[in-house]
Amino acid sequence: MSISPQTERRIIYLVLFLAVLLPLLFPIGWRTESSPHVRMAHKLVEQSPAGSVAIVSFDYDPASMTELQPMAVAMIDHAWSKGHKVIATALWPQGPQLADQAFRALSEKYPEKQYGVDYVNLGYKVGGMVTIQAMGRSLVEVYPTDTGGTALNQIPMLAKVNTLRDIAYISSLSSGDPGIKQWVMAAHDMYNVPVTGGTTAISAPGFIPYINSQNQLIGLLGGLKAAAEYEGLIGMENGSATAKMDSQSVAHLLILIFIAIGNYKVWRNKRIKRTQDLKEEI
């Protein structure tokens, strides 16, 4: 019995849909080990002293929030647990809304954290790398107000923050350009501010060269697995990345099965063709 390519495709789609859906409904509970790059990012936050001011830059849009939003929540959670103050910025227009969502997601766990004292959302600025360079000279020049229109000099946690040099570390969560690369090139290479970050699994290989002896990038969270690893490191048992990892793992496994079936099919067709050719020769 032969199946048409269209039917084949539909079967693949259906099976994949079930492979993603079922582990979400009935979690398997597979564990993940933390990788060195995730541990590096974790160590940077862990070792920064209480009272440090950090930037978490939301350089992505809702398309990639499945992978990046859990990273944002976990990193802010970690920063707050260590007594750090968090400035949210965005090089992508939809970033500020996602920053507010991340803060809101943690408001129940940290009811004592106050806007303006422990965190602030400075919003989106156009210009990518040039914006970061300008922040290195003067933060207030780039961001005269926060997203609510409050002047920067009225925000208590920013009283001693004038330029990027006053920032303990920067975490850019990016799904493209501008993003991590620009933060590394401007904030680290020009102003020597430690930069870490997270990106989608598909983009991660492109940033690994920046994790080098010059510490251009201190660790990297690549994809949902890294987000789950970070959640594991900070003891976030019910993190959204951890919950989604079973689905992703089953989907990966299924893709491998598809690859095996595809290869078997090609091998079988070749064998049939060879047999037919031999018969014709005889």
Binding site: V126, L256, I259
Partner: protein, 232 residues
């Protein structure tokens, strides 16, 4: 003259930015700072231009009733709705023309703009990105076929990385003693990513950087003029 003035501006701006990298002192640093401020302002206007372009292009398609024109109409209606809601009641902490829409917020739980962003746009956008998984699964079935040494190498690497990037991979090789780290799939995946992948990525990055230097020089020296709107 109409053609030469932009070329002179580009040459001078390029030269100043280039010089300020090597001489970070006055007057180059000051001029560079001013140019950066201009860049941010111009970039802001570029967003406005993008919106005007969106309206013009989509408007023309709807007017001429090209194929699938209702989709363009849906896009325009969505754009208009978000714009109107944003202008009238603002978003997040910002107030709009009619204030913060307290009564609507009490009903929806959020401002109308934020409600649409979080409950419609966000999910549609994530769904579009998630659809890639289906195409990847289908493509993997058809494309990862052992045909030659190179394709074999690609497939073996892909299998290791796919397994290493899942919790299943961790479980699969978790029983192997820790003194054999490279036999653990996650470690092997990290090794592939850190060494062969990084080497290839660096080569690509250096080549791309050289390409950018070349094309930048062509623009600064006025050899590349396509940004002026063609060679006419």
């Amino acid at each position: 003259m109409k053609r030469n003035i932009p070329l002179i501006i580009v040459f001078l701006a390029g030269l100043v930015v280039f010089a300020s990298e090597f001489i970070p002192h006055r007057p180059f640093s000051q001029i560079n700072e001013t140019l950066e401020r201009w860049f941010m302002i111009i970039s802001g206007f570029a967003m406005f231009l993008g919106q005007v372009s969106l309206l013009r292009v989509n408007g023309a398609k709807i007017k001429n009733k090209v194929k699938d024109w209702p989709y363009y109409l849906a896009g325009m209606i969505s754009f208009a709705l978000m714009l109107i809601f944003g202008l009238l009641w603002g978003m997040e902490k910002t107030d709009g023309i009619l204030g913060d829409g307290a009564s609507i917020q009490a009903w929806l739980g959020l401002k109308p703009f934020d409600y649409l962003f979080e409950n419609v746009y966000q999910h549609l956008s994530a769904t579009m990105f998630a659809l890639l998984a289906f195409y990847i699964a289908s493509a993997a079935y058809r494309a990862f076929i052992i045909r030659s040494f190179e394709s074999n190498l690609l497939m073996i690497t892909a299998v290791i990385v796919i397994l290493g990037r899942s919790s299943f991979g961790t479980m699969l090789t978790g029983w192997i003693p820790n003194n054999l780290p490279l036999l653990h799939l996650p470690n092997l995946t990290d090794f592939i990513m850190e060494f062969p992948n990084s080497a290839a990525q660096r080569a690509i990055m250096i080549s791309a950087a050289l390409g950018i230097v070349g094309s930048s020089l062509r623009i600064i020296l006025g050899i590349e003029r396509s940004y002026l709107g063609g060679d006419k």
